[in-house]
């Protein structure tokens, strides 16, 4: 009987779910392997092999300094992945706490924060990131800081509206009657019930972070050389579009696979 149900659930995976899992899985494999092993030293310069097209030894070719692109893409994917992950965890975490507390308590602070929120969310994230980096200066850690700050309002807004609904439900009243404290109600009772909203929000946030990080690094405001990042590789490749288009196409495709994979996964989390 239980096996039967399992069978049914498994066949329920739609085309989009399957694609999302495969693509996101590919990126994860890339990131995890890149933590321990790259085929070549990603920063090793080889003057004899400048802008070499893909071969068996260098499956993605080499760049304008003869560096192995596969190794650089692995390191770059790792950088983009962890910057985006940290960003969405920090920004999303703080945003969730603010939204949860203000949504549950309401009152003047709630009203004030939401007005500020309205103002901030009107701006596209890359624009805000540019403005913040304009103030605090470029660099890897500044990008994490800038992007985290930017993600706080959208998470706060989503969580607030969730908590506004949940706080009126019976199970919350029950918990209150049982004498549970505010923080216990917010984080132990309500928060797990918002996962259908929270998980897709984190997936979308992650995607926006990937796109914003790639954009900022492309504009040389994010990860600084010689460190590899997907956005940086794209901007470095631009002068060699004519002779070595694979320099641009490969990191670009990795960005697309990353955003598409986690985007499709996020959509499935939302619909369940």
């Amino acid at each position: 009987m239980t096996a039967d149900i399992k069978q049914k659930q498994q066949s329920k995976y739609s085309f989009e779910q399957t694609t999302g899992m495969i693509l996101a899985g590919l990126i994860l494999v890339f990131v995890i392997v890149g933590l321990f092993y790259t085929p070549y030293d990603p920063d090793a310069i080889n003057a004899a092999l400048k802008n070499h097209p893909p071969t068996l030894l260098h499956p993605f070719g080499t760049d304008y300094l003869g560096r192995d692109i596969l190794s650089r893409v692995m390191v770059g994917t790792k950088a983009t992945f962890f910057i985006s992950l940290l960003t969405v965890l920090i920004g999303g975490g703080i945003g969730t706490i603010i939204g949860a507390v203000t949504g549950y308590l309401g009152g003047f602070i709630d009203e004030l924060l939401m007005r500020i929120n309205d103002g901030v969310t009107a701006f596209p994230s890359i624009l805000l990131a540019l403005i913040l980096v304009g103030v605090i200066g470029p660099g890897k850690y500044n990008i994490i800081l800038a992007l985290s700050i930017i993600f706080i309002p959208s998470f706060a807004r989503i969580m607030r509206s969730e908590f506004l609904v949940q706080r009126e439900l019976d199970y919350v009243r029950n918990a209150k009657l049982m004498g549970a404290g505010i923080f216990r109600i917010i984080f132990v009772h309500i928060l797990p019930n918002t996962k259908n909203v929270l998980l897709p929000a984190f997936a979308i946030g992650f995607n926006n972070a990937v796109l914003a990080e790639a954009g900022m690094s492309y504009l040389s405001l994010g990860v600084q050389p010689p460190d590899a990042s997907l956005g940086r590789m794209l901007s470095e490749s631009q002068s060699y579009l004519l002779g070595a288009p694979w320099l641009a196409i490969i990191p670009g495709i990795v960005i697309i696979v990353m955003v598409l994979g986690f985007g499709l996964l996020g959509r499935t989390w939302g619909s369940n």
């Binding site: 989009e16 103002g119 624009l127 470029p138």
Partner: protein
């Protein structure tokens, strides 16, 4: 009218706060503006003179009002990097950004509205699913990578334009032919997003009671779609277009870099790297004001379109 006055009041307050934040942000940056401008080797007397000239010896409040007054009159000071008034730099670069963002917006409106009606008739059909899935893929492409792909495909392989050689505004035909490629690069992901949004908006309306009423009165599906549903589905799209307009502005700033366009975006990015603060300050303030104004006008349009929205909120 009451709605308008309320909104206008909020607009003024928002603008004031944006100006205050911009001013404060550049106030807390460590370092002395006079010292930055003259270099570390400068004579103490020169630094003092420049401090006096820039008004750095005055109180913060005085400088803030000078900043506001300057911003209103279009005086943002002098660029550290180019040694010319910031307003001159801005007025040279503004048209390029306006053209790029305007062209992209036009493309989005022209393409996405008809496209969102394709396949909507069969909401679970193959065509609808294909469109939704390809939208997902297009949305995952960063606009600057799209720009690079265009440079490669249309510029290098098909030789429709020379990548990186912005022709200037004098020859309008050439200018437009060059600008169309960055405009498409900015517009394409937004078109995908808009089509997705419009389709779900139309499908949501299709479930409403008035559609059933119209159907029971013997209206054809097509007539219901065009005469009843579309009008209502467009209302939430208005806010969506405001977001898109802001996104297009952001996209233009990055794509300017790909196509070597001398617009506000490139000016801002060079200024950030050079720590050319008067320029950064002006560009930031300008972009913020544009985004706020777009939202203001969309709010007004929204209320005109949907009389159900009252001033209560």
């Amino acid at each position: 009218m009451k709605f308008f006055i309320r909104r206008f009041f909020t607009l003024i307050i928002t603008l004031f706060f944006v100006a205050l934040l911009t001013f404060l942000a550049f106030e807390i940056i460590p370092g002395d503006a006079a010292l930055t401008r003259l270099g570390i080797d400068a004579e103490q007397a020169d630094i003092e003179a420049l401090r006096e000239q820039l008004g750095l010896n005055q109180t913060v409040l005085y400088r803030f009002f000078r900043f506001i007054l300057g911003a209103v009159c279009g005086d943002f000071g002098v660029s550290i990097q180019y040694k010319v008034p910031v307003i001159q730099l801005m007025s040279e670069r503004l048209p390029v950004t306006i053209w790029l963002a305007g062209l992209s917006m036009l493309l989005i409106l022209l393409v996405s509205l008809p496209l969102s009606l394709v396949g909507i008739e069969s909401k679970n059909g193959k065509l609808h699913r294909i469109i939704t899935f390809s939208n997902q893929i297009i949305m995952a492409v960063p606009p600057f990578f799209l720009g690079m792909l265009f440079s490669l495909i249309f510029g290098i392989w098909m030789k429709l334009f020379v990548p990186g050689s912005y022709p200037g505004t004098e020859m309008f035909g050439k200018f437009l032919r060059y600008m169309i490629f960055p405009a498409i690069a900015v517009a394409l992901p937004k078109i995908a997003m808009t089509v997705n949004f419009m389709q779900s908006s139309v499908l949501a309306q299709m479930k409403q009671d008035y559609v059933r009423t119209a159907k029971s009165k013997g209206n054809s599906r097509k007539r219901i779609l065009f005469h009843h549903v579309l009008k209502n589905a467009l209302i939430p799209s208005v806010t969506f277009f405001a977001m898109t307009a802001a996104d297009v502005l952001a996209g233009s700033i990055v794509v300017e870099q790909v196509f070597n366009l001398p617009g506000i975006g490139r000016m801002l990015i060079t200024a950030i790297s050079y720590r050319d603060f008067p320029v950064v300050e002006a560009a930031v303030l300008y972009i913020a004001v544009v985004v706020i104004l777009i939202n203001f006008f969309v709010d007004l349009a929204y209320q005109k379109l949907d009389p159900r929205i009252q001033i209560t909120d």
